[in-house]
Symmetry: D2
Subunit: 137 residues, 4 copies
């Protein structure tokens, strides 16, 4: 299984008037997780772009298990989910390092969009098929 881990300091601006991290900010943490996965396994956003594609998020889910307070540190575990279709899928776990608690789990799905025509690519692009083979996915 391919996965990466990254620690993130919470910004004060990411908290809300309940005193906890606002739920929508977890999508930014997932983004940090994906970026870090990309750097670790050579599947970076800009490399994909250089191959001719945008990879917009078309689906995302977050399940919150416990709140995160300002001053606490989190860890995002980003797991690659293999798929036969022309999609990039990840699952995430957000762990509160300060308390040891699992705070949230989530999923995202990305598709390949031709960067010129902005139409969706229905077949797995060559560079991505090669990346999957190389990584036994």
């Amino acid at each position: 299984m391919l996965f990466s881990e990254i620690e993130i300091d919470i910004r004060f601006s990411e908290t809300d008037a309940m005193g906890v991290v606002w739920h929508g900010n977890y999508l930014k943490f997932f983004e940090d997780g994906r970026e870090h996965f990309g750097k670790t396994f050579n599947l970076e956003y800009l490399a994909i772009f250089d191959n001719g594609y945008f990879t917009p998020i078309v689906k995302s889910e977050i399940d919150h298990k416990a709140p995160v307070y300002y001053g606490q540190v989190i860890k995002v575990i980003t797991k690659y989910v293999p798929s036969k279709s022309a999609k990039i899928m990840f699952e995430y776990e957000v762990v509160n390092i300060t308390t040891g608690e699992l705070c949230a789990i989530g999923k995202t799905m990305q598709v390949f969009l031709d960067k010129e025509s902005r139409t969706m690519e229905l077949l797995t692009p060559d560079f991505y098929r090669q990346w999957k083979e190389k990584n036994n996915q």
Copy 2:
């Protein structure tokens, strides 16, 4: 069926380097939708708070159907989803008014948290049961 509709102007700061609204911002649009629903049907955040509860989001989902570009106007349709448990559930449709397209659909689930103890309320709070009866839900 209880629902409300609100129009939202996209902020330039809500776009990203693909030139479209960044996917995570749809959770802000859902929030605008919930607020508007609350104002329309007397289920406002601050009224819930005065009854002793926070109602944090514990689950959210977004399915993107089409991008939204800067300069376009969207409409959020927020639909109340009846439930027997101590939860508040909504479904959302985001329509691009400029193009007529459905851009995204989504869901959120909220629970009742005692605002002092921050523990989850397992039984439907009285005020919410009354609200449901009054609105035939």
Copy 3:
């Protein structure tokens, strides 16, 4: 003097753990103010873009006078500041409608960037000079 006024509902996500609107979000309110000014006086972002320019913010200032709490409504007054140089300058007042208080004042300065070369235009573009004349600025 050219100015416009717009009312804005605070988003819950715009508050922070102090229970008030996070200071950085005022730049979003200024943006809402500029957009509204643009719509009112035909100086919209996309019209400027169609004339060949981006107009990035190169300077911004915010002075906070009083906090804004969730549930309160604000009004942004956006005032055009005439200038002989190739710049667009605005001053802002943010008024808390709920309390009547002045919450913040601010300024922004924008320059004209050729949208192809991304170099700064040192002379006032024709379309903008005409806009100024038409509006006696």
Copy 4:
């Protein structure tokens, strides 16, 4: 002179439709800089809070010198500005590490707010006076 330096990876969500970091996000980078300064020199937000105070930003300024693109890395240099009044002042430099360019400079001013009464403290709090003495400020 007291200062600290921190490197920040740009989030894709922090870019806008011009393809560069949205100007308002620099206030988040300044916040990261302040946090890091606080950790380095024992002037952390939560320590101040434990001494009885909030320290809201009452003034902020940003001067943009050059754009930052997605994929680039920045460094924020946060410099403490000594003052005899009951204020915390910082100056910031944002350097694009990828290009070597200075991207932005800025300032912030914070005051001490009694966390119970939310009134402004006009005299320098004891703990802060001691911190200044210890650090020769």
